[in-house]
């Protein structure tokens, strides 16, 4: 019914002797907010990096040519372990959020947001740094959206982790991304900043109606913000379904042991009970 925005077929990836992704298949539709869960080393970040063409899948599987294929927003990203020519076209439409923010720390906040506009800027303008007034205005609007318009002229290195992650989201907004992939966006943040970042991502998902795929290692965040959960274990899709179906047994099998399902299981609205007082 809905348009498919991510399609992954038979993706395999080896790092030396470690089989990081085993025949992974995944399909995400327009407007979904999906959490990728799994213990460390389960391949969730690796999968996300493949989606943006930052890593290429295996060329051969068991000595036979691979059939791995990834398509994002209808644009081929990689096929049979080789990047497609359209990989950059696909990246242009994809906002990617990193755990370590990956902002250019010596540039100002505004310049970092403007980097999101590079792909729609003629080369002579981008190489000389001559962004148009309209682009700067658009960047300021993006910063306003994440609540950092006052910081536009500051150097990124002066910002806190949570603020930097919001700048990264503003960069994705500047791209006018049609899908957002977020790789552990809150793993390096304190609880309050985590809540703000997840709220913004959720807000973009709802208002713009664009799909958001986010890898997380906190189950409670996944359940609170994401209606759908995909869990990876040792490189294989272990669970794929509505987050309410994540019960104690599934989580125990996923993480090995002793993970209690969060109480907020039933309340689907993102109510941050724990931090309600500080907010």
């Amino acid at each position: 019914m809905n348009k498919q925005v991510i399609s992954v077929q038979q993706l395999n990836k080896h790092f030396a002797n470690n089989h990081a992704l085993k025949n992974v298949g995944l399909s995400v539709e327009q407007g979904e907010m999906v959490a990728l869960l799994g213990p460390s080393g389960s391949g969730k970040s690796t999968l996300l990096r493949h989606l943006n063409g930052l890593v290429c899948g295996d060329k051969t599987v068991n000595d036979k040519p691979s059939n791995g294929y990834i398509e994002v927003l209808g644009v081929p990203v990689q096929k049979n372990g080789k990047f497609c020519k359209t990989v950059r076209a696909s990246r242009c439409q994809t906002g990617y959020i990193f755990q370590q923010f990956n902002l250019v720390t010596r540039l100002s906040v505004l310049q970092n947001v403007l980097i999101g506009g590079l792909n729609s800027t003629p080369l002579w303008r981008s190489l000389t740094g001559r962004f148009t007034l309209a682009q700067k205005q658009q960047a300021m609007n993006a910063l306003e959206r994440v609540g950092l318009a006052d910081f536009a002229t500051q150097r990124v290195s002066n910002l806190s982790g949570g603020q930097q992650q919001r700048v990264a989201i503003a960069r994705a907004l500047m791209q006018q991304a049609k899908i957002i992939l977020a790789d552990e966006p809150i793993a390096s943040l304190d609880p309050e900043s985590s809540r703000i970042v997840m709220d913004i991502l959720s807000d973009i998902n709802k208002k713009e109606g664009i799909a958001v795929v986010v890898t997380l290692h906190q189950v409670d965040y996944a359940v609170r913000y994401c209606p759908r959960v995909v869990a990876l274990k040792k490189g294989e899709v272990f669970f794929d379904g509505p987050s309410e179906q994540l019960d104690e047994g599934t989580l125990a099998a996923l993480y090995g042991s002793k993970v209690t399902p969060p109480q907020s299981n039933k309340s689907k609205t993102p109510v941050p009970q724990l931090w309600a007082q500080t907010a």
Binding site: R91, N102, V104, I115, G116, L118, S126
Partner: protein, 262 residues
């Protein structure tokens, strides 16, 4: 019984390897001593000559000071353009020497080319350029340009190899092309170091520019060479003093500027 077993707390013995290495170091040093014909006694024996030569230098003769200053200024001009040309060329070459920017078939040949440019001293290049472009400051500019490019490209590439790849990946993930990745992801990270290296090379090029003149490549080196050859030691002394003062002032100034960028 326990004492017979290796005591874990006993300090490790000096190994044979260490002793052999020391013997080797001493052997190389004494071999070089003979090769370089070092004879400290000569200094003592010929102390009279030295004192006589030194006394010939004083008092310095500043009669032609305006001419000296003019030529010193030309030396600075040589150093400035020699450095600037090499900075311009070192930006692409430095990136082409960095193994995190280009494949091995690009950086290996580029590095060897830069090794060659670096291995040959400015003086040698100056002599060659005097032959090709004639006597005068331009030969000096070219000599400094070639040698300094070899040095700066290597220094630049080392800075590039030490960058945080995550920042570049962040730019790449937005769909930027390779050139934009470099301009927005790499250059901002290395710029302070690049500026510092360039200023340092300018300092040392001012020093080098004073000697490339000796082979006819213009500037104060020409006067220096002429006056030494003509045994005009008071003039030589004046020129040397001017060089010392200029180089010290520049070193001091550029050190202050470099501190702003680090």
């Amino acid at each position: 019984m326990n004492a017979a077993a290796a005591d874990p707390l006993s300090p490790p013995r000096t190994s044979w390897f260490t002793l052999i290495m020391w013997a080797l170091v001493i052997a190389v040093l004494s071999w070089s001593w003979q090769g370089a014909e070092i004879a400290p006694m000569k200094i003592v024996k010929d102390a009279g000559n030295m004192a006589e030569l030194a006394s010939d230098f004083f008092p310095p003769d500043f009669k032609n000071i305006s001419y000296y200053l003019e030529e010193m200024l030309i030396t600075l001009h040589i150093a400035l353009w020699g450095t600037l040309f090499s900075i311009i060329l070192s930006v692409p070459l430095g990136l082409m020497c960095a193994e995190n920017m280009v494949p091995a078939w690009v950086y290996q040949p580029t590095r060897r080319l830069m090794d060659a440019a670096r291995a040959i001293n400015e003086m040698v290049f100056a002599m060659l350029f005097v032959v090709t472009v004639g006597l005068g400051p331009f030969a000096g500019v070219m000599a400094l340009f070639i040698h300094t490019t070899g040095v700066l490209a290597k220094l630049y590439s080392e800075a590039v190899e030490a960058i945080d790849p995550g920042q570049v990946e962040g730019v790449r993930a937005t769909g930027a092309n390779k050139l934009e990745e470099i301009v927005y992801g790499v250059i901002p990270q290395v710029l302070p170091l690049w500026i510092s290296f360039s200023l340092y090379r300018f300092e040392s090029n001012v020093r080098s520019a004073t000697v490339v003149g000796m082979v006819g490549a213009g500037g104060i080196g020409v006067i220096l060479w002429e006056s030494i050859r003509g045994f005009m030691f008071p003039q030589t002394c004046a020129v040397m003093l001017i060089i010392i003062v200029t180089v010290s002032l520049l070193d001091f100034g550029s050190q202050r500027i470099r501190k702003l960028f680090i």
